[in-house]
Symmetry: C2
Subunit: 760 residues, 2 copies
């Protein structure tokens, strides 16, 4: 119906008009309402607020896992293993610059190449290190090879291969009688001097590698007046399938007769540059006199079992005990004399300590929300020779990881927290690059470092993931391993994820309920660059790799460790031809980094700390309770008090984790406060005096075992103090130290528990 | 016009209907638009987000200043001074419980009364400490009074007044010759033994109070073989207007002939409980053997000048040098003999060390936004006797402050950060309550404590505010002083605020432009409870009080310090009858607390740190540059390198403060990151080895002067090492320490600078 003339309108028209008006004005109102609401506050808040209150994008996890490419890892490994790359060498700088350039190209936000001026150690190639067997006229009837015989083309083509040597050995040319000292442990020397009444003064010691850190062997030999030390890799430890060519490299991963293990003699404490303990080796650093360090005072040299054979077969004296006999086809005699009178051994060691520059590369992807929180990802770059296993398998993995993170960043992703990638220098000489850096950055790290994720070797076998870490890392280790498919393994075919394989191969905490079983995570020792992060900085740390079956093949290291036979050939033809094991480790590593960098609530589940400490105290009680009773000691803080304290700790953690999981994600500062508590709990275990007798090891709950620096343990201070205390002639002083240390432990755990409340 | 029958409507009706419809639907739309926008996110965000992004309510500042009531302070002071309240006494617990109850009533969120079991020291009241002058038959011809003669009613009515004694004195009854040793300083003893060749072994030393900490006098005496020490307050230092009754208490604030200064002999390092250095004195703490502490090994006793007169007038020997002559009307002789042959001095000191419980009270108003950030406000409660000045003037002030904060809280105000009020125990014995607490809570404090605001004595004069503090505190000290009216002062009538009076009375940094002049803020020594906060925890700290004119009256303390004459009468009748000076200090203290607790950006202006360090290094250069040149030392880190480093520090601070002031207040995590940097900069100055020779003094930029523990200074380690180095017979070792310490200083300042970037 049309318009009614004379200014009058029908009801229908009215209704239509009203409806239209209603619709228009309602829409207008909605728009006004929307925008009037958003200004002025919403117009400024949404970006930072919405990002801060959102959890990480879960699809990133999937992207990391699918985009890690084994072929790239192979390519990176080929580059790093194409030449020897020892710390302080020209290649140290060249490869550092390569990493810097690559990270820039991959799209990291900033990349720094930074150097420290540190005391390293090298043999004089013009006066090569050798050991000779001399006849009664002083003529050498046998001299060890200067270099390991090339067994593959890549090795033959290389130059600059550093001859076998022991870093930080004293130089010298001692000549003398030879004594076979088995593994060179305290008990081995005790056997010779106490049971056999041998005088070792000025003798040269022939040791087997293994059981204890090589540096300890020199310490023990020095204490017994040795003139020098020779260490060889015995076939029983390094060529377990036999020494025939078909059973050793390049046909298998076992050590051939010409292979020699290089390595440092530097003790684990103080870590890092020997001249600048506790402080970074910068231009203006104070340097101690090298004479005031505890570097070796006598020459030491590593040799092959092929070489050792020539000395052992001429050695006379009483035959060594049954368990001192090794894998060479002869009787191991204790020596002190040769079969032919007047024969002797002469060492010619030219190794000297030298101040050199060495290079870390630090690359960062800046956090979008919390740039002042760091997720640190590290691997060392230096190798004794090619380092195909140690550490270049890890280096290649890290560069593939940064490629994927760089790509994600180019596609628009930004992590909540900063990712910091660290390519460390001079780890092999004694964790030098990472230690100097931690010392340099400590004042920022202690407040801001969330976790340190280390991969030294990525692949040293095909059996399972093996992890070391603090209990603060367990949950994220397990979570990441559950997300990554296991490489096609012939050993345990059914395992579909790294976790499945891991928990089957290395089960820990075995309970009646198999669902409660978790994979073993061993405590951190001082074997790689995590050492200063955890034991100086209190930064939760871990180290992962793919490893061999230690149950069927109980080795202290893979056989070609630190030899010139750690080649690309070894990895490409024998150990991981598809690079799928490399890729698997890289994926797990990347997922851990993403999880820590991107989750709104940091993925630290403290429950494992409670359980670990309760279990460790139970073990203490089991091992030592009776000893305490028998000794009649009455301490302010007994083992029972410690037990009560760790149980309170565990109880408080349970409450705290519940509160943490319920925190309101829109309350950014409440989330930050909880995250700080999760991050900083590990710091609470640092004590400014450190472990008894180890003042630079500040973490007093976990530390390296004094018996074996490579492995870690809970309550190392207590175990040290209680070790053979019942054999101590005057134990009161030692018990007094136990009293004091127990009290510090109780205080520390109590104070750590208190940090889980926001109130003081 | 009305409705048109037959379903037709006029244009006017239509327009009205349309307008009404438009209005209604527009409004509806606005409402829908508003709410559709705000859900789901806004419905959860506003409270925490809006609060977190708002600055503190400025009206609170005004409320604090207007509501602080001098009459209440008088009432609190009367309570605390109504009885002697020495640490470890029954009154210690009773007054702690009073504070606890009061704080609960005042409305604090939580109040804890917590005790530590510490080694304190008391005389045996059944065998009172005395010093006697013996004639040649061994008969006492004079014996000092056990107690100070009551001079006012409040004193006369009190019981439990601890007789004058020196805490931690050894007990004993030495008898021997008396030697006058002036102030008992190193140079005083050197004069006697070197210039005068006196043998001091087994003699009793008579010292004047003043110039150095009394504990140092005992150390020096002990080193010279003294059998005991007697310390008296000389009129020249404590009764400068004369000793006649009208010139001394109770007619003036000067010390009467019967007044005695009590005090501890405990050295400042290690601070706190002598038996538990570095750790809290809890039930399970390890305690060192008292024999292994450095507490005094000889008896010591304080006496009045009225008493000292009796000994000095009988003393013969050579007369003391001009500047050793004191204010008594006689010639001060060096002694070693008496006028009458065979006379001697006998001390009878029954003081023993005793384990006692002592009580801190900790009251908290929880922060609404950042409960894990603490603004700490503290004062000690224990006094030698009534403590009307030291510390009860401060205690009364703190309780009035908590009353006002409690009232504000009841009215709905909540601070952004937590306010923590601390009533410390056993400060007088050696900062014991605060030190044990800091050691106990250190692991939380280092990450969370924003500032520590100390008032020990609130009022010790009517001249001006006097402040001690780290440069991190300067801005908030000045800002608060500018907000508080100055009490009606007769000395400088024009001053309208505390700041105006302060800058006029104690100008610092005097420049050509008077507007650039700022009030003096001296460095913190170890004279009160801030010591462990700043020098163990690295928590920015300050101490304020109203003081006398030190220029016209150069005293080392107010005259009645630590005597039984520190009564309510003294304060109420002589020192602050209106309590306006108390109120003024309370207002300034409260405004500082509010400012730190409530400002969105913490009120720390780091610029003062840059300036202070640049000035301090300029002073080092001025004092020592030539010495370095003359000594021919070549260090990795020279004074020039230090100078370059502090200039970089200053430059970086300038940039950082600009960035900090421009940070987007709606980005809560960006604000928190900046606040963390502001809070934690002071921590960066802690070094785990501490100052050279003072391992527990971790702050290596500021510290107590070794010459006088009460006062503080920049670069105390360098000054210690360089002190009289040119007189050292074999200076190489000392220069080596200078080399090392300079290098640590350069490293530390460099690392502190680096914390001002969020990147690593």
């Amino acid at each position: 119906m049309g318009r009614y003339s004379g200014g009058l309108y029908s009801r229908q028209t009215l209704i239509v008009c009203l409806l239209v008006s209603f619709a228009i004005s309602l829409s207008l109102g909605v728009i006004i309402g929307w925008f009037s609401h958003s200004s002025p506050s919403t117009s400024t808040l949404p970006d930072s607020f919405l990002r801060a209150t959102s959890d990480g994008d879960p699809s990133i996890s999937e992207k990391i896992i699918t985009q890690i490419d084994p072929e790239n890892i192979r390519t990176y490994l080929r580059y790093f293993t194409s030449t020897s790359h020892l710390a302080g060498d020209e290649q140290d700088r060249i490869q550092a610059e390569y990493v810097k350039k690559l990270w820039q190209d991959q799209g990291l936000d900033s990349v720094d190449l930074q150097s420290y001026d540190v005391l390293l150690s090298y043999p004089d190639v013009n006066s090569p290190n050798t050991v000779s067997l001399l006849d009664d006229k002083g003529t050498a009837v046998y001299t060890t090879d200067v270099q390991e015989k090339p067994l593959t083309d890549d090795q033959a083509d290389a130059d600059n291969i550093i001859p076998p040597f022991h870093a930080y050995s004293a130089s010298g040319t001692p000549t003398g009688v030879l004594v076979y000292v088995n593994y060179g442990r305290v008990e081995d020397f005790n056997y010779l001097t106490r049971n056999k009444s041998m005088n070792l003064t000025n003798a040269i010691m022939l040791c087997r590698y293994g059981k204890v850190f090589r540096g300890e062997k020199i310490v023990n030999a020095q204490a017994h007046g040795a003139a020098g030390v020779i260490i060889f890799s015995d076939p029983s430890d390094y060529a377990m399938d036999g020494t025939e060519p078909e059973n050793v490299y390049p046909n298998t991963w076992w050590l051939p007769p010409t292979g020699v293990q290089r390595g440092t003699l530097k003790l684990s404490s103080p870590p890092g540059d020997p001249l600048t303990p506790s402080y970074p080796a910068t231009e203006h650093a104070y340097r101690v006199n090298p004479k005031d360090t505890d570097l070796p005072k006598i020459p030491s040299h590593p040799i092959s079992y092929g070489g050792a054979y020539h000395f052992l077969k001429e050695l006379s004296g009483e035959s060594a005990p049954e368990d001192w006999q090794g894998g060479l086809n002869l009787t191991y005699n204790l020596g002190g004399e040769f079969i032919k009178p007047g024969w002797a051994v002469r060492m010619n060691v030219s190794t000297t300590n030298q101040r050199r520059k060495t290079y870390n590369v630090i690359g960062t992807i800046e956090g979008e929300v919390e740039p002042d929180r760091y997720v640190l990802v590290g691997n060392h770059r230096d190798a004794w020779v090619f380092g195909a296993v140690d550490p270049s398998s890890g280096t290649a993995a890290m560069l593939e990881l940064t490629r994927v993170f760089g790509k994600l960043k180019k596609e628009g992703w930004k992590p909540r927290r900063s990712l910091v990638f660290c390519s460390w220098a001079a780890e092999e000489h004694g964790l030098i690059g990472s230690t100097e850096w931690v010392e340099d950055k400590l004042k920022s790290l202690v407040n801001r470092a969330l976790v340190y994720l280390n991969v030294d070797i990525a692949v040293q076998g095909n059996f399972s993931i093996r992890a070391l870490g603090t209990p603060t890392m367990y949950q994220s280790l397990f979570d990441a391993a559950k997300k990554v498919p296991n490489p096609n393994s012939t050993s345990v075919a059914e395992a579909s994820t790294l976790y499945d394989q891991w928990v089957r191969c290395f089960p820990d905490n075995v309970t009646a309920d198999p669902d409660d079983t978790q994979p073993e995570v061993a405590a951190l020792g001082t074997g790689s660059d995590y050492r200063s992060f955890i034991y100086n900085g209190g930064v939760p740390s871990c180290d992962i790799r793919y490893t061999w079956d230690k149950f069927s093949t109980p080795l202290s290291s893979y056989p070609l460790y630190h030899s010139a036979y750690e080649t690309f050939f070894l990895m490409d033809k024998l150990m991981d031809p598809t690079f799928e094991y490399h890729a698997a480790v890289t994926k797990m590593w990347g997922e851990m980094a993403r999880n820590h960098a991107d989750s709104i609530l940091v993925p630290i589940d403290l429950s494992y700390y409670g359980t670990s400490l309760v279990d460790s105290v139970a073990k203490l009680q089991k091992d030592y309770k009776q000893l305490f009773i028998d000794s009649g000691v009455t301490f302010a803080a007994s083992l029972d008090v410690l037990e009560t304290e760790v149980k309170s700790f565990q109880k408080r953690i349970k409450q705290f984790m519940q509160e943490a999981n319920e925190v309101d994600h829109t309350n950014t500062l409440a989330v930050r406060a909880v995250n700080d508590q999760l991050m900083l709990l590990e710091r609470a275990f640092l004590d400014s005096y450190g472990l008894p007798g180890r003042p630079l090891d500040k973490h007093i709950i976990y530390g390296a075992s004094s018996q074996d620096n490579y492995s870690g343990m809970a309550f190392p201070g207590l175990f040290d103090l209680l070790f053979e205390i019942d054999r101590e002639p005057n134990p009161a002083e030692r018990w007094d130290k136990v009293d004091k240390h127990l009290s510090v432990l109780v205080y520390t755990i109590h104070a750590a528990t208190a940090t889980l409340s926001s109130a003081i």
